[in-house]
Symmetry: C2
Subunit: 416 residues, 2 copies
């Protein structure tokens, strides 16, 4: 009988598993709560209006039928590892012989309800698009305001978290404001606009070499961003940010990039978990005690403590490995050696014409225009589909050459 | 003192007034509930995923500052003609010396609450984008369905209204389904897909010549659309459509294009009104008894009964006239002759490679490929901005040449 494979999640990891298993004789279904694959590394640009959501998404049904993989739209609410069943929100039950957990992570507000209610989150497409509308709305509110203090609150944008997402978003946000305010809001004074970044650590971009961290900080300061190190946002009511040190900050917009946690669909799983709710796996990426369950991408963490960075290259390498391992096992071939991650390097863009790059294998660390060029080419290359590449190019020319904001529509949520 | 001009509405009419008054020494503010101008004639293509919403919208702040016009985002809730004041939803009061009413129309459900609750409406950007998501969702639901009757209900799409919008949407919907279902939903049988058009009159496309109406009906039938003439939708609970004649129709999707009514912001105005709540104007487009108030676009209707078609050319001509009239009056020049509408003709596209065209001035009526080519060129020419033209071209090549649907994302509202 054909073995049934269920892949939960259509991100980098899930999609790579589907590609790896195509034509190997499995009956494969991929489940996702969205009908699209999202190119997450550029999501922050959707939030700042540089790119359209459509430019970085690919409908899963464009891809999966050609892999011979079925698609199932829906939310997973429970995974029953003992019965090999997945329960869907609509009541359906899906059964599997092999399961790939590739559900990724969501924003972690560390249990703070008021922050999660009032802060913006740019981890998913909907969050990024809402953020874009709210940024524009803040400018509209500021321009309608008749009171200087109120106006300054609307014009103060605060980002929590100095990792790659926070830094990339901050730099892009300043460019958005530089494009928009002087040209399109003549009633506003650009000198009243303020962007602040609150970071718990003492240096931006954890994981990068010291000189690159310093370059990023210098660059953000030169863009006019107010950097607050060594402090955490503790509370936010939509108007006042309380940090664990320093005075309260008045701002109507807080963008939260300060942490991720495992997808909540996994909360009912009673297996041992690692930091951030990640699932402990052996060196073949199998869930402990459940050899028919593979964990790939951001959710996986090795029992031994080896590094499992939550980045696209890890997601794709782990997915490729797990698919290969299952194929070897099903074909009764000798098992392949344990998984090892080959770090291709990390890079973070710092607005227009600047980026930081670090390639450990070649002992390379550098920043500036050439790093930016590499970033641009690499991301354009990795976006799926010619149409999306053209769309991205079109929007980037607008941004980087004409210095105009591509996407500036206020959609629903306008009045909240 | 500088005279204050208030323009309510940033559609074709409002924007043309703003252009007409630029540099004439007025202090002008344009008010709209959205921050964008919408190219409405292509909105149905947003609903069928042929075009991105962004391709047919232009942020008003891209345009207005260069005209020297201020922009005010917000909802108008009351117009006080006696005090020359406009009350905004947020409590603000705007004052004027001259007022231009260019708020346009909204979908008219003729007071039927259950229809307005369950039917989809493609008159605004949000309605069109929701419709697109709901069409995709219907296919997903059909593919998950385990019951043939239930599946057929999800695969039956009904359009109410056989005017230009209904006809254009119907033809585009069939193409969407032809693109998607066979390629991306291998679990569905395309023969189970059904599109029906319910029309109150005896011929489609009121206003067109008889042979063009017949051609449109033949074309839609050839596309497989089930045409129901001489009947009106009376009720809809989300699953069963009740018409005033014939048996009930089972369908999970009803798209309503069967009527428009004046913008509800005008409901509090106690001036005499015409059909559909439109405002009676003299032949200088001034509101009766209020010579400082001009009515332009879809809202205007002449007291004498002369035709005021609710189309873009009328909106632009009336707006250009009213702006010119006000300039002449303010400069104490002789008043210009009464407004007369020059009908440039009407056209309706019938899917790929076909359209009907009628140019009364030259006694021309024709259909087919050349009409479609004219339609394509004209619409591309009239879209504002190079970026939007390129985006539209890109999406149209996708649709018309590669026969792929450009936009296929399921956004929020997915689970309703």
């Amino acid at each position: 009988m054909t073995e049934r494979v269920l892949i939960l999640g259509g991100g980098f990891a899930g999609l790579t598993v589907a590609q790896g298993l195509r034509g190997k004789g499995f009956a494969i279904t991929l489940v996702d709560q969205h009908n699209y694959h999202l190119f997450q590394p550029l999501l922050y640009q959707v939030a700042t209006g540089e790119l359209l959501g459509e430019a970085i998404t690919t409908p899963l049904r464009h891809l999966l039928p050609s892999y011979g993989v079925s698609f199932r739209l829906g939310n997973v609410i429970e995974i029953d590892l003992l019965r090999c069943q997945v329960h869907m929100e609509d009541g359906d039950v899906l059964e599997y012989d092999f399961l790939f957990l590739a559900l990724g992570t969501v924003t972690n507000f560390f249990g703070n309800k008021t922050i999660s209610q009032h802060a913006l989150d740019i981890k998913g497409l909907e969050g990024a698009e809402t953020t874009r509308s709210r940024l524009i709305l803040a400018l509209e509110r500021a321009s309608q305001s008749k009171n200087a203090e109120d106006r300054r609150e609307w014009l103060h944008f605060v980002v929590a978290g100095g990792g790659a997402t926070g830094v990339e978003f901050c730099a892009a946000l300043v460019e958005l404001l530089q494009n928009l305010v002087p040209n399109e809001y003549p009633e506003l004074d650009f000198r009243e606009v303020q962007v602040s970044l609150v970071h718990g650590g003492e240096a931006l971009l954890p994981g990068f070499a010291n000189n690159l961290q310093k370059h990023a900080a210098t660059k953000l300061r030169r863009l006019g961003i107010n950097l607050l190190f060594g402090t955490h946002v503790k509370d936010y009511d939509g108007q006042t940010i309380i940090c664990d040190s320093g005075p309260p900050i008045s701002a109507r917009t807080l963008i939260w990039t300060a942490g991720v946690a495992a997808n909540p669909s996994l909360s009912s799983l009673t297996v041992p978990k690692g930091r951030g709710g990640r699932l402990l796996v052996d060196h073949h990426l199998r869930l402990l005690d459940f050899p028919e369950v593979f964990v790939v991408g951001d959710l996986a963490i090795f029992t031994g403590g080896d590094a499992c960075p939550q980045v696209a290259p890890f997601a794709m390498q782990s997915a490729r490995y797990a698919a290969k391992f299952l194929c070897a096992q099903s074909a009764h071939k000798p098992l392949i050696p344990p998984f090892g991650y080959h770090d291709p390097g990390i890079m973070t863009v710092l607005g227009r014409l600047d980026a930081v790059c670090q390639i450990p294998r070649w002992h390379l660390r550098w920043y500036g225009l050439s790093a930016w060029g590499l970033w641009l080419g690499l991301h354009l290359y990795r976006i799926i589909g010619t149409g999306n590449r053209l769309r991205t190019l079109l929007d980037w020319s607008n941004d980087y050459i004409r210095r105009r904001t591509s996407v500036q529509l206020l959609r629903q949520g306008r009045d909240d």
